[in-house]
């Protein structure tokens, strides 16, 4: 088979040169046609476009990045793809990037900071024009490295105005505090918590602090809170719930570090024959789809996933194209008061 590779030699994809020849212009003109169309006169532009079309030309990405020292690629490293905690936000991020002509390179670190570090280096070596990272907690040396390589970085899913990188996110601590105060007002005094691992995870840590803040502000002893830390996974949540209910005085409410754990806790309750919220109340965090699918529906903190993704993309593209510092942005996270919590 020969698919109309005009009179040229074999079969390799057409290059800029081929187009230039076909359109009887220089390669520079073709390049300008593609990148800065307004620099080229209308007649030539049309001729070039026709040539591009007839040859089925697509620019070679590697060559372009090498010459332009830009890749139009943005890297994102998320802790996990296994559940949808980051999915909606990332999807929105991607859609917005695409709108600006960028491609997203995603990888997931499985919540391991060494894996994350390696992936950061890979992404940088691949010439990512910018990076989206989740949360702040990481070796300062990484921020140094990134600064030295002049790769713009934006942090999401958290907010901290005076950190090493600009962030688009919400206040994990304040949100958790608000949620906790709310349940305390509903009469809960015996509070237990199942958290994600707080090491190298500022979101988890801040959420714990938020609970303590609320306790302290309401005459409870913050030191009495002894969060169990588990992986973000349903089964682990269920197991932690068992442990909590078996040892010592039973809490009237179990606050969970996120929805996945909370759903696990709900399963655990069900398996123990406890009903939620009559026997025990449970809350989550994130408001992912699963929260509205369990019954009772889960009381949780709604994170503005899509908004965060979209704004992060805009900001990062801005940082890259205008070579400016990014500006942090605090978004609202709202308490979704559903059926998994009752008054005491």
């Amino acid at each position: 088979m020969n698919f109309g590779s005009s009179m040229t030699d074999i079969d390799a994809p057409p290059t800029l040169d081929d187009v230039a020849r076909e359109a009887r212009v220089s390669t520079a003109t073709v390049s300008r046609c593609i990148n800065e169309p307004k620099m080229v006169s209308a007649p030539t532009r049309e001729r070039v476009q026709a040539a591009i079309k007839s040859l089925g030309y697509t620019p070679n990405f590697a060559a372009r990045s090498m010459a332009a020292k830009r890749t139009f690629t943005i890297g994102a490293i998320i802790p996990t793809m296994e559940n949808s905690i980051f999915a909606r936000g990332l999807q929105a991020f991607q859609e917005e990037l695409q709108r600006h002509g960028y491609t997203l390179l995603v990888s997931s670190s499985a919540y391991r900071s060494d894996a994350e570090e390696e992936q950061i280096r890979t992404l940088v070596a691949r010439g990512a024009d910018g990076l989206l990272l989740i949360g702040y907690d990481r070796d300062p040396a990484i921020y140094d490295y990134l600064a030295r390589q002049r790769v713009p970085v934006l942090v999401a899913w958290t907010f901290d105005d005076n950190a090493r990188a600009p962030s688009i996110g919400f206040d994990n601590r304040a949100s958790m505090r608000a949620l906790t105060e709310k349940v305390i007002k509903m009469g809960h005094r015996q509070i237990a918590m199942i958290s994600g691992f707080s090491q190298q995870n500022d979101r988890a840590r801040m959420r714990i602090l938020g609970v303590r803040d609320a306790m302290a502000a309401n005459g409870l002893d913050p030191a009495s809170l002894d969060p169990i830390e588990v992986p973000y996974d349903v089964q682990a949540g269920a197991e932690a719930f068992f442990r909590i209910m078996e040892q010592g005085p039973r809490p009237s409410i179990v606050l969970c570090g996120n929805d996945v754990i909370a759903v696990g806790a709900m399963r655990g309750a069900q398996q123990m024959g406890l009903s939620v919220p009559e026997d025990v109340s449970i809350t989550g965090f994130d408001d992912i789809e699963i929260a509205r699918v369990v019954s009772p529906e889960l009381t949780t903190v709604h994170v503005p996933h899509r908004q965060m993704g979209t704004l992060a993309a805009k900001e990062l593209v801005g940082m890259i194209e205008d070579k400016r510092q990014g500006v942090s942005r605090l978004l609202d996270a709202k308490i979704m008061d559903r059926a998994s919590v009752s008054s005491v």
Copy 2:
């Protein structure tokens, strides 16, 4: 600040040349040290490695791909990232790729074939060494294009031995047939179905056919099945469930095209005050996490997500590196008999 960029000029990242100079060898040797270490004698290799380390050298990806005509990038286009249908499989795919030194470029088409086509072209232009696509259904011209560009393609989440591309997947039709036969044997005669859109989606189409196969084989009229097609989303599932229960004779069972729809149907039932499975049975497909989180737990078809991802990665890498045709592989999908179906 000056971060030890030895005596060289300004500040740009070190290049192969810098390393070569530092190690007092030619660039070719440095290159070999990185790509084919065994071609270099031990002493020189050590010298070069020391130089690499001391300069903090990382190869420039664009340059490397241009020279080698390889990118070590594999593209995957999945229909959605919003729920976890593809997440586990993709995660496994990525992990396996990483093990072979490849990077994954993911994008999602939102189940739109025009978006998918554009993304395929983008990925090819970016020099993807291979592509993972979900399902067969797409314009044949795309397969031609891919063949002409000599980009290996592997299809997953479905299996068809004599299609345009090799596939690693399971038999959607047979699995759905098996599930349906099982519920028929349990006494269900009034069968309804909520499917995903079957246009441009062979998985959805095959699942419908599977239901009909089972009906025909058991003395029911396959033409009497009139699947409602909806987007794969909880809310849509609930709404479709309402429609089904409101019009005409109520089915004893509602077979759903996947777990997300099924969970929607369960919510719908709950909102209508119907209990599952006493008043109506419901089944799903995929066995994603959500299936075990709802109550009652969902009877569904277990898809070997991780296995599929891992094998797909191995096969695709094999196709690329050995320049051979891929071989298709049929995996088992198993019925998970849980609590959302009762006998009639």
